[in-house]
Amino acid sequence: MSAVLDALQKKFGTAILATDSRFGDDVVEIGPDKLVELATWLKTDPAMAFDCPVFVTCTDRLGFPVPPDEVSKFKFSAADDRGPNPAREASLGPKEVLHDHAAADNIRPDDVVDEDDRGPNPAREASLGPKEVLHDHAAEPRFEVLYQLRSIRRRHGLRIKIRLRSDKLEVPSLAALWPAFDWQERETWDMYGVVFKGHPDLRRIYLYEQFVGYPLRKDYPKEKRQPLVRREWTDEVTAFHGDETKGGARG
C-alpha cells in the first residue's frame, strides 16, 4: 500500500470503501457523499498537494466480465471474505431494484457464483480454472465515475472511484475545486449522463443540444445516428444522380 492510500485510510477510516494499488495505480473507492470533503483535503493538505487534475470519466460496466478475484467484491454476501461492510452497503442503497439490461444483453445472473448446494469442492474448482463471471446488474451499481489526480510537487497520483446505480447517477461537482474539471465533467455528462450536482454550466460539450441519450453507454445502439440536417431529394437532385448513374464520376 502506498503512502497516499495509508494517509487516506488513517484520515477517513470507514468512509474508504475499498482501495487498490495494482499496476502502479492507486485507487480509492468512496461514496458520493464523501467526495467533496476528500477532494478538498487532497488538494489542500501539504503532504497530498494534488495540484494537477488529470481527467474525469465514467465506465459503464453493463455486461462487463468481472475478474475472478474481484467476484467477492461484487457479491455483498457472507462469502465476501473481508466481512460485512455496513458503510459500503449503505452507500449502495437498496439491493432489489432490477434493470432489464441483464435480459437484453444475455447476461445470466446465475453465472455469478453463489453458494453451491453441494458445498465447496476445492478440487473441482481448481480443475475448472478461473471462471468468467459477468457483472450482475440486478443488485449492483452499474456505473463508475473516476477522477484521476496527480501531484506535481509530491510526485504521486491517485484515482478516486465512485460506484453509482443507474437510478441515482449523481455526484457532487469538483469544478469549483479544480477548474480544469469543468469541461471534463461536462464531457462525462454528455457521454454517460452523470449529473454533476453544483456544476456551474452542465451542458453538452461535444454533442448538440438536440441529441437524445448518452452515446458511450453500453446500451446505446452502436450505429444509431441523430442527424441535424439531410439533403432534400428534389427533382434536380434526381436529375444529377440520374446522370451520374450513366457512367459518372462515382466509378
Partner: protein, 166 residues
C-alpha cells in the same frame, strides 16, 4: 447556337481557374497541403489558389470526416458559394464516412450537399487528387457538374412554366 458557344468558352475558362475552398476537418488536410504545395502543385492543373471565403470560391473540397454536428455548417458554406459551383469529397471519410460507424460521424458528405467527384483513399495520394481534378474539369467542360445540371433543369422548368402561361 451562339449562346452554347459562349457557354463553352465560359466553361473552358472555369475549368482552368477553379478557386478552391478547403473545408479541412481531419488528417486528409495534410495530404491537401501536399497537393497544394510546390511538390505536387495543383496550380499547374488549373486550381490555383485556396480561398478561405466560400463567397470567393467555386470548388468546395471536403477534406476529412464530417460529423453530424458539422452538417449545418457544411450546408451553410455550400449555400454561400456563388454559382456555378463544384464539390469534391476528398478521402473515404468525406465520401462514405470511412471506417467511422458511430453516433457522431456522417456517412458521407453527400448526405447534406451534392458531390461531383469522390476520391477514395485514407488519405488519397496526391496523384489521385490531381486525377480527380482532371475528371472534374472534364465534367465542367461537358456541363455535367451538379450545379450546371441544376441550372439546366431549372431553366427548363422556367421555360415550361412560361409556355404554360402563354
Amino acid at each position: 447556337m451562339v449562346t452554347s458557344r459562349l457557354e463553352d468558352a465560359a466553361n473552358w475558362g472555369r475549368k482552368f481557374s477553379l478557386f478552391t475552398y478547403p473545408f479541412v476537418t481531419a488528417c486528409c488536410g495534410m495530404e491537401f497541403m501536399s497537393v497544394a504545395a510546390a511538390k505536387y502543385d495543383i496550380a499547374r492543373f488549373g486550381a490555383e489558389f485556396p480561398r478561405f471565403s466560400p463567397r470567393q470560391s467555386d470548388l468546395l473540397m471536403i477534406v476529412g470526416t464530417i460529423t453530424e454536428r458539422q452538417g449545418p455548417v457544411l450546408k451553410r458554406v455550400y449555400d454561400q458559394m456563388a454559382e456555378p459551383k463544384w464539390v469534391i469529397a476528398f478521402g473515404v471519410c468525406a465520401s462514405t464516412g470511412g471506417f467511422y460507424q458511430n453516433y457522431s460521424s456522417m456517412p458521407g458528405a453527400d448526405q447534406v450537399i451534392p458531390v461531383d467527384v469522390y476520391i477514395p483513399g485514407c488519405p488519397p495520394r496526391p496523384e489521385q487528387v490531381l486525377d480527380a481534378l482532371m475528371l472534374l474539369q472534364q465534367r465542367i467542360k461537358e456541363r455535367k457538374g451538379h450545379s450546371q445540371i441544376r441550372e439546366k433543369h431549372e431553366g427548363e422548368q422556367r421555360r415550361l412554366a412560361e409556355e404554360e402561361l402563354t
